[in-house]
């Protein structure tokens, strides 16, 4: 039951620097912890995040075991034209989630 929270301004002026905030629900299990019986808790993390603006990749990040649960990623871009932001998270055990948000540029 993965859920994402995305914050993209609904409207912006052409050339504005806008902040994009994303929060993805994930346990980010490091793979370094043991159970009480000594067994390793297998690693389960998001390994990659990408954002495309009207199809063009504008931001990409690799994630590692030191990232806390529910990774919050925020970044800036320039509002060039109206359209859509596509977000994609990929991780261990076939984890793959997408989300989208649109923007109107005046």
């Amino acid at each position: 039951m993965a859920a994402a929270l995305i914050n993209v301004p609904k409207k912006a002026k052409r050339g504005d620097v806008i902040e994009i905030k994303t929060l993805m629900s994930h346990i980010m299990e490091t793979g370094y912890r043991h159970t009480t019986s000594g067994k390793i808790v297998p690693r389960d993390i998001i390994t990659s995040f990408a954002c495309r603006y009207n199809g063009e990749e504008i931001f990409r990040a690799d994630l590692f075991p030191a990232t806390a649960a529910n990774p919050f990623i925020s970044f800036f871009t320039i509002a060039t034209e109206s359209g859509k932001f596509d977000f994609e998270w990929i991780g261990d055990n076939g984890f793959s989630e997408t989300a989208a948000a649109s923007i109107i540029v005046e």
Binding site: M1, A3, L5, L23, S25, I27, A69, F72
Partner: protein
């Protein structure tokens, strides 16, 4: 002779204490006056406050979103969803968390929000209870409690609850465990100080379930209470134990008049 010496030493120590301006606090602590009560929020760093204030940054909102999905999902032999009886939670659940724990007539005891959800599952959905502190129950209770966000906490004043509140207050006030501490010794006497670098705070549970950064997840008030009891090295209780519900009841009377912050973020 030795006895007289002891008395002389004791008076000397008292004199030194008085000269050094040390105030000896009474053994029985006093509750914090209602005008001085502060939400745990006011003790937090600006970054943590900002995290709670922005719904797209507050990780507790992920639980609320999942809770909304569960609210509409059919469960149990009756194949009913919460929404089938309660309809829109924005209307039906508004203010509920601000007055819980409440008295359940059939059980003749108070129940907290998580227990109410499980009672509903048993009585109306004919479903298995959701396990404590697991994702589903936390998400559902966060979703229900979030409907009361901003509302004033007004504990249920049903006369049946009085003996339970009194027991909870007793638990809070009495010293126990290997460290011989009562909750009151920190949360009434020393709430303005720090313990291992963290603010002690006033034991005002106005944002549960909270997203605690240390836990990296949502957690219930009972999880927090069990943490404290372990810290006092006292005998702990299982999730859902009546002792913990009584303590919750008393703590909500401390929170009277404060706004619900669910899902709050705490460090």
């Amino acid at each position: 002779m030795r006895f007289a010496g002891t008395i002389a030493l004791a008076s000397l120590l008292a004199l030194i204490g008085a000269l050094a301006g040390i105030v000896i606090r009474p053994l029985i602590a006093a509750e914090i006056p209602s005008t001085e009560r502060r939400s745990g929020y006011t003790f937090m760093a600006p970054d943590t406050k900002a995290m709670q204030d922005d719904d797209t940054v507050n990780p507790g909102m992920l639980g609320v979103l999942d809770g909304e999905t569960l609210w509409k999902r059919k469960a149990g032999a009756a194949s009913k969803a919460c929404a089938d009886c309660h309809d829109d939670a924005r209307v039906s659940m508004k203010g509920v968390a601000a007055r819980y724990p409440a008295f359940d007539k059939a059980l003749a005891r108070p129940v907290n929000l998580e227990q109410r959800i499980n009672l509903c599952r048993a009585r109306h959905q004919e479903a298995e209870p959701l396990p404590y502190e697991k994702h589903d129950l936390l998400a559902l209770s966060a979703f229900v409690a979030e409907q009361s966000r901003g509302m004033t906490i007004t504990p249920d004043t049903a006369p049946e609850l009085e003996p339970f509140v009194a027991k909870g207050r007793d638990f809070f006030m009495h010293r126990q465990g290997q460290l011989n501490l009562g909750c009151t010794n920190c949360h009434d006497d020393n709430w303005d100080k720090h313990l291992a670098g963290s603010a002690v705070t006033q034991a005002i549970p106005n944002g549960y379930p909270i997203y605690r950064l240390e836990w990296q997840s949502l957690g219930s008030l009972q999880r927090r209470l069990r943490n404290c009891i372990t810290g006092m090295r006292a005998q702990n209780f299982d999730f859902g134990a009546i002792e913990l519900v009584e303590l919750e009841l008393y703590l909500m009377t401390r929170a009277r008049g404060m706004p619900v912050e669910t899902p709050a973020v705490r460090p």
